[in-house]
Symmetry: D2
Subunit: 374 residues, 4 copies
Amino acid sequence: MSKLKLGMVGGGQGAFIGGVHRMAARLDGDWELVAGALSSDPERARASANDLGIAPDRSYADFNVMAEAEAARADGIDAVAIVTPNHMHAAPAIAFLERGIHVICDKPLASTQEEAKAIVAAAEVSEARVILTHNYSGYPMIRQAREMVARGDLGKVRFVAVEYVQDWLAAEPAHDNKQAAWRVDPAKAGGGAIGDIGTHAYHLAGFVSGLRCERLAADLSSFVDGRAVDDNAEVLLRYEGGAKGLLLASQVGIGHENSLRLRVFGEAGGLEWSHEEPDLLRFTKLGAPTCLLTRNGAGATADNSAASRVPAGHPEGYLEAFANLYRESAALIRDPEKASKLPDLDDGLAGMRFIAGCQKSAEQNCAWIDIAAL
Amino acid sequence: MSKLKLGMVGGGQGAFIGGVHRMAARLDGDWELVAGALSSDPERARASANDLGIAPDRSYADFNVMAEAEAARADGIDAVAIVTPNHMHAAPAIAFLERGIHVICDKPLASTQEEAKAIVAAAEVSEARVILTHNYSGYPMIRQAREMVARGDLGKVRFVAVEYVQDWLAAEPAHDNKQAAWRVDPAKAGGGAIGDIGTHAYHLAGFVSGLRCERLAADLSSFVDGRAVDDNAEVLLRYEGGAKGLLLASQVGIGHENSLRLRVFGEAGGLEWSHEEPDLLRFTKLGAPTCLLTRNGAGATADNSAASRVPAGHPEGYLEAFANLYRESAALIRDPEKASKLPDLDDGLAGMRFIAGCQKSAEQNCAWIDIAAL
Amino acid sequence: MSKLKLGMVGGGQGAFIGGVHRMAARLDGDWELVAGALSSDPERARASANDLGIAPDRSYADFNVMAEAEAARADGIDAVAIVTPNHMHAAPAIAFLERGIHVICDKPLASTQEEAKAIVAAAEVSEARVILTHNYSGYPMIRQAREMVARGDLGKVRFVAVEYVQDWLAAEPAHDNKQAAWRVDPAKAGGGAIGDIGTHAYHLAGFVSGLRCERLAADLSSFVDGRAVDDNAEVLLRYEGGAKGLLLASQVGIGHENSLRLRVFGEAGGLEWSHEEPDLLRFTKLGAPTCLLTRNGAGATADNSAASRVPAGHPEGYLEAFANLYRESAALIRDPEKASKLPDLDDGLAGMRFIAGCQKSAEQNCAWIDIAAL
Amino acid sequence: MSKLKLGMVGGGQGAFIGGVHRMAARLDGDWELVAGALSSDPERARASANDLGIAPDRSYADFNVMAEAEAARADGIDAVAIVTPNHMHAAPAIAFLERGIHVICDKPLASTQEEAKAIVAAAEVSEARVILTHNYSGYPMIRQAREMVARGDLGKVRFVAVEYVQDWLAAEPAHDNKQAAWRVDPAKAGGGAIGDIGTHAYHLAGFVSGLRCERLAADLSSFVDGRAVDDNAEVLLRYEGGAKGLLLASQVGIGHENSLRLRVFGEAGGLEWSHEEPDLLRFTKLGAPTCLLTRNGAGATADNSAASRVPAGHPEGYLEAFANLYRESAALIRDPEKASKLPDLDDGLAGMRFIAGCQKSAEQNCAWIDIAAL
């Protein structure tokens, strides 16, 4: 089976998430990186392309040029990965969608709702798809959790508790920290903790519970002196059908590297998953002992095993979960009728409404916001 | 050193917390249980007293009679433990306070604010003290956490996350479950999860952080069909000086037996404690690896060691923490000038304001409530 | 029910295990400490007795005098706790047995096999019993583990892995460390790690598996410079019926406070218990997910619940497990026909053979030793 | 930088470890799989090659033909991965070494010492290298542990405890379990648990401690009825300079999926690592609290960070550790003077001596075997 061809916008030397996308794309051998507009700095773009074995004529200084050139080639890219800061998602996404090239976009979808809506408009008239890398949804145990909720193992869901706590922004970042710089700039990021990690938590809660959130109330803080975006968010959630949720996103939680934790409590059972032990899912039936379900282990569901690569007990992690999105993207592109669990434009819009809702609620002293109306 | 004499109101056969108080009182040999009004059912009161080696003439059918008789004896009780359901705290507390007998009262202080205020009024004209058994504050690692915050190990506190999640009330309790019956009866309990476990969490957050809460907003739920009290509470907290907090109290968290977890995040460090590993305190200085501080172990503070009984690595638990309150109560009664960390009437009133604040906020769709004004 | 009367030999000011015995004896209200020969130093004996509320005329300078005096009193002690260093167990044990007073003796039974055999000889002609405080066998989850093995939940047991690793003796102890001093003196202790913690591990493995050990081979080390006893022991065990075992006892395992861990693997299932989370038992049926069984929780066996005091999720620990031995001793003395799980003289002798076997094997370069023959 | 060219022997459809090698080789983009003798069954070999995008003319039915053909091509492979069962390592390894093609060989090196020595003989006259995939040595925290021991953080090492416990062979495997079938066949595997997982544990202990083992004594068991190889091994180790070790390898440890755990205790500190939380290393200095060192986190050493791909807190796992061996193999082939931590022929021979030593000791009733003499 020949490999699909991938292009990349962003992700030049010194970037973080671009490298993650590339490893994820490589792991299963479905993709080949053949083109890129890896940096807005032409010199860095060239050097980065050379590092990555991209042919010089497919290293572009500009994503518009790239979109046009790749669309024109017989061996042009099948999809483009957009791994730029949030405010740089919309323009390239639209450029590639307009040429019918699939877009694999980092989250959140954009830095403003206007940009997000522009992407949607472009997608509506394109045959290409948008896939959003809410990578935590690629974990095998998250897939199993979703299946278990869907098949009723927990009964009716009552309450979802989700948190993403990290500490790398607990103080003013160093001047040369590229990753941090745009994330604490409201014009580039669009939001702070709510956008960078809150949207992940929010997506995960919905992905597993199968519930749609209707309203939220948020208390946002900027604890670090001089920080222009939120770095701590407490969000009350109300889901359709009476379920509730609680979301905590914090970038000042000293002692937590990247602690994403999800709990779902239903009438008949409860589930707990933590990013710190991603191959484990704790499941408790009302009145029974807690069971430790494992990746590809005893009691694994079909979706768990399908998302696994190695036997139970050999830890898989972040890159493998991310790679599941690339593997499934390849499968979807090869067979567009295939059912998919991939995060898509709807998820991207939901995330943008979550960000906007949190900001609006915070402006109104934590008032309830109807997010469907945003 | 001769033992102090303890009486007990409530705690007859079939009760739970009465037995806990008795074990806690016995552990260090400071107390001797010599009198009781153990049940409102005279037959049960008598049988219970007999089980416990209480002399027949000091087994009372009525706490008023007991208060009067014991106050009149030369060898009368030094203190009374009140271990009845919440709505039965105020009357006996007042009866004993009026006779100058110290009161060790289970939490919350009462089932209504009116009752609580009546206790305060009685205490103001009594020489006796009221000690409230917020027993989790007796854990050695909680004592160390408090010390570390107070001496500045975390810098200025930004955020406190506390939760108490349990599952024993996740479904309608059995008819003969005495412990559950009054707890889900609003007239007897005064509140549901917020009162029974939320007040513990709330006290602990304040005890360790040293911060006073000013405002709160609460979303209360009653997930179990037909339940007349809350069984799940999400509470946003605002502390003096700009710190914030998040409190979750749930009795429907299937998979959690009694998961009390506290995290305190400051500008310079973070702490984490969990009831599931009570001898452990995770401490992280900004930019340094997490350290595991242990009960009576390397790095133990004075308060940690003072609250410990056995060497590091030999687990202590719930009863030992509870017993610390009894040991310290004895020390305080013997030396009323002694500095004390014991929860007192102020803590009791704070807990009542917390309950009232949560209920008022919930009635107003999660509006912010100024709890000092309650 | 009136309390049983307890005497104590050893356990004066500055001692460790004496205080543990007293707390354990107090917790359930079955015992009253009324007499003692608490120290060989008369002044310390008097002061210690006074601290503990023992009447001056029942504070003895000599255990022989105490045995005689107590046996002569109408209200004499029912049992004596012997909490002296190992080489001081036999003489008092024999003295009390000869007067028909029950003996609750710290482990190991003695410092030499000769002493142990002398105790047995005394016990054979006495109506009194000897109970050995292998306290870890009092943990509720250990009781459940034993029950589960006995009723066949694991199928035929194949392999037992047990370890007790601690680090408090990883360097030369301070001069004034009374606890350490006699433990590293071969004349007083009789053995090092093998006696102090190895016998606990060995007893626990047999208690849970229900198997009798036939042969062992041991590699003993004294890693600390100048140490005259072993501080690290690796022991291969062969049980009756073909099962095997592996025992590690180490006092130089830096990072382990008191890590006692037991695993039992059978043909149909496996169990794992760790002293660090004593309320938890991991159980895995072949081909099924691991379940977390808890103290007094879902799936608790009768013996688990009987050994528990508080609801699931409220941690119990070392003192509660120790107290179970005192509670059961009281029950046994009150009803000598009652079935008992208490460690007894046979366990004590087995422990002495274990120590002797390890030492003999080590002298013979880890040769196999038939321990029944010792 | 152009990719290195990889061939593979074994690893056709239905195989396990071949897929692992391929993912590991792909992750960092250093390697391209271009040739293979993927199965001894020609039809399966062809189909497997087609699945993997290997050109039909480079899919060989026979590894000798492959070695010859690839050596003759200008664009022939740089290295071959040998992922066959143990008894099929030597012949292909020798065939490729003889043509100067580097060999990346699965462990153990061979099924007999004779085969191992034949590989060594071939390597001695070849310019090509042999790299053995003791993949656990690729974990970043294992690299840090090694560095910490080497720079003296633990002081002189006293004791190493290592275990690899799994349960997938706790019962007779199903007839169609290809992975299990050859592993329980002594003619193909050469050893049971000692070879399959014991050699990993043994290598890891030496890799981290920096110590060379001189003697061992082993008790081997075959607990599963009819099993012709060992499935449980307890091994006493004596290292140069007086350090000792204890190794447990078990395939009947029900409840353990793949529990590899290493502890190193020195005079001044202790380390603990577990495969279940591979991004974590527990480090305790004598008298200080335990610290949790993490992958790429606070306190990470140079080797830790160099072996990491994503920020701290994003779990890496088995494939990433395995991929480190492929990344470093590529670096070594590109720059043969580069210092390397890769397991090599010496490690392979050491593993074979370990297997032979265990078997010889077991035949002699656990006698001590001088493994240098094997």
